[in-house]
Each structure stands twice: as C-alpha cells, then as structure tokens.
C-alpha cells in the first residue's frame, strides 16, 4: 500500500487511461460474448500497474488488421505481410487535421529521434489515412516527412480502412467537407502497439500521451522487453 501511495500520480494516469481505453473498446465489444465491461476494465488496470510500460496494457490482444493499401510511393503495401515479426505502432488519421493528428505523430517522431538508429530500425510507425480522397500518396509523404522520414503512410480504399479499424475499436467515418473547405474526419485517435512475438496489439496510447511516455515505451519495445 505504501508503494501504491508513492506512485499515485502514475496510477491516476493509468486509471484515466484505462477509463479511456474501456470507452474506446466498448465500441467494438458488441461481437464479444458479453463477459462484462467492468471485469475487462479491472483486468486492464491490474496489468497496467505491474507492467514496465506506461501505455495502457490491453487485456484483449487485437489481431493486426489484414489491410492492403498503397504506400507513399504508390505501391501496394500488405500491412500484415510486410510487418510480420516486427514491432508496429498504428494510428488512423488524416493530413487536413490541424490538432490531434500532427500532435500525435509529431510526438512519436520526437520520441523516435531520441532512440539510437538500431532501436529505431526495430519499430515501424504506420499511419493509415481516413481521408484517402485528399490524402494521396504524395500528400501523405510530404506531411509525414515533417514528423518522420521513415514513417510508413498508407492510403487507398476507405471501406477497407473502416473494416480494418473497426475490430480494433477505432471507429472511422466518411470525411465531411465544410463550406470553407475544411475537412473533418471522425476517427479514433488512439495509437496501438503490436508486438513482434505474436503480431497482436498489446498496448494502447490515448491522444495526449506525452513524448516522454512514448520515448520510455518505444525504448522498451525496441529492446523487446515483455509487456
């Protein structure tokens, strides 16, 4: 209990993350057998407090989506095949997004820049566009280059993107273009980390995760530390 008190701020953060996670995950739980949200959340919470990782530890390990889109060179990219046995951070977003998308990808970029080249090589950062009509491979490349030259950008059929995101608890809707030309795309803003051991998602990062948390966890992921 004494140790509990000393780590209170972190636990509070973890609790907030868990709350966020259970909200995010509830969207996709309709297909599950209905074991109860409460017990699921409690399980997450227990694991989060014992893990070395600062991200939310998932009790349900999502499969990496079976998704083939175009990469930023315009060539077909099979996510599952190309990233098999590798550590992957996956984020869905769009380039006309001024706030959350560049903040999230930028923070991951800064965290990556603090790792050694060897560590960086072990991690694939994948950004999937939820606005493929405007996010052409070139548009995506230019945008991603501001945050990470080696970030992988995927764009293509929105129906495929939606289908890939849904089982991950990430809801993607059709983008809406306003009269002034601004685009709003509805997409879950969480980042999922897939492990090389089973190609499944084990960690979740909500929007607003700090550079320090990403740096901390990316270093552990690159070293292959178990979740």
């Amino acid at each position: 209990m004494a140790s509990l008190r000393s780590t209170r701020p972190r636990l509070l953060t973890a609790a907030a993350l868990v709350l966020g996670a259970s909200l995010a995950l509830s969207a996709c739980s309709s297909s599950s057998s209905g074991g109860g949200e409460t017990s699921g959340a409690a399980k997450v919470s227990k694991q989060a407090s014992t893990s070395q990782y600062q991200g939310t530890v998932l009790s349900k390990h999502f499969d990496k989506p079976d998704l083939v889109l175009n990469d930023t060179g315009g060539r077909p990219y099979d996510l599952k095949a190309r990233t098999a046995g590798r550590t992957v951070l996956l984020f869905f977003g769009y380039t006309s997004c001024p706030d959350v998308c560049p903040t999230t990808m930028g923070d991951i970029g800064v965290a990556m820049s603090k790792l050694t080249p060897e560590e960086r090589q072990k991690l694939d950062i994948v950004f999937v566009s939820t606005d493929p009509e405007r996010d052409t491979p070139q548009v995506l490349r230019t945008w991603l280059d501001s945050m990470g030259k080696d970030f992988i950008g995927l764009t293509g059929d929105l129906a495929k993107v939606k289908a890939a995101a849904k089982p991950l608890g990430i809801m993607v809707e059709d983008p809406v273009v306003a009269a002034n030309g601004s685009v709003t795309s509805t997409h879950g803003a969480q980042v999922l980390a897939f492990l090389p051991t089973d190609d499944k998602a084990h960690l979740l990062y909500m929007a607003g995760t700090s550079v320090e948390t990403y740096r901390h966890d990316l270093e552990l992921l690159a070293k292959g530390v178990a979740v």
Binding site: T95, P98, D99
Partner: protein, 158 residues
Amino acid sequence: MSRGFRRSALIGAGLATALAAGTVVVACQSSGSSSAAPKLSVADPYIPLPATPGGMGAGYLTVRNDGGSDRLLKVSSPGAGSVTMHRSTEKSMEEVGELEVPAHGTLDLARGGNHLMIMDWSKQPALGDELELDLEFAKAGTVVVKVPVKPLTYRPGS
C-alpha cells in the same frame, strides 16, 4: 496652427501606437469602474509549423482573465483567409460558435482540446514568422495578438 495640428496628430499617433501595443497584452476597460468588466491578457500564443507546408495549421494560446466573465466570439487574421474555433473530441473535431472566458479564470486553447484552425495563408508560414490574430470578445472588444510560428512539436515552456 499647422504646427499645433501636426503636434496633436503626432500625439494621436503616439497614443494609437501605445493603445495598439497595449492591446497586444492587455485589453482592459479604461473605465475599470465595474467589477464585472473582464480584464484579459493573452499568454503563450503559438502556431506549430504546419506539417504540410502552407497547409492546415493550428493556433494555441491562453486567455487570462482577472475580471468578470467574457466570451471569445470570433478570431480573424489579416494573414489568413480562414480562422475558425474548434474543439477536439475523443474521436473527432467540432467547430464551436464561441468560447467562454470565465471570470478570474483562463480560456485555454491547447493541443487536444479547444484550438484555432488556420487556413488560406496569404504567405506560407515559416519558423520565426508572426501571424496577427484578432480575437473578438463580447465585452472586451478586439484583442490583437502577434503569434509566433514555432516548430511542429513545440509546447510552451519547452
């Protein structure tokens, strides 16, 4: 006559400059009679360099209020065709009509929450540039802020 006129014109210009400079930081009511009058100042304004050169940008700042409540109604800029107020939510982003500036409190425009969306730049923003934003408040009137363009991942205090 003409000399007198010129002098008063100069004083006028000086006053206008001083007033304009004053509004950069403080937009207090000159009367200060009513305790309900807002006393606004803007802190830590910045625009992260857009990830796509010349593309969609965001604007962040804090409005401090040492007086009565006020509302931010509209933001415009001589250097950008469109500035709108938005709020990021869990899964999306929504445009907001106005933002409350609580009495003796702050209105935070910060990453992941309320923010300005800036489009149609008249000049592609670069690091070190400053963009003028005109913040229109219900009671305090217009507050003019010069907002620096910072690196994409900048945060105040970093």
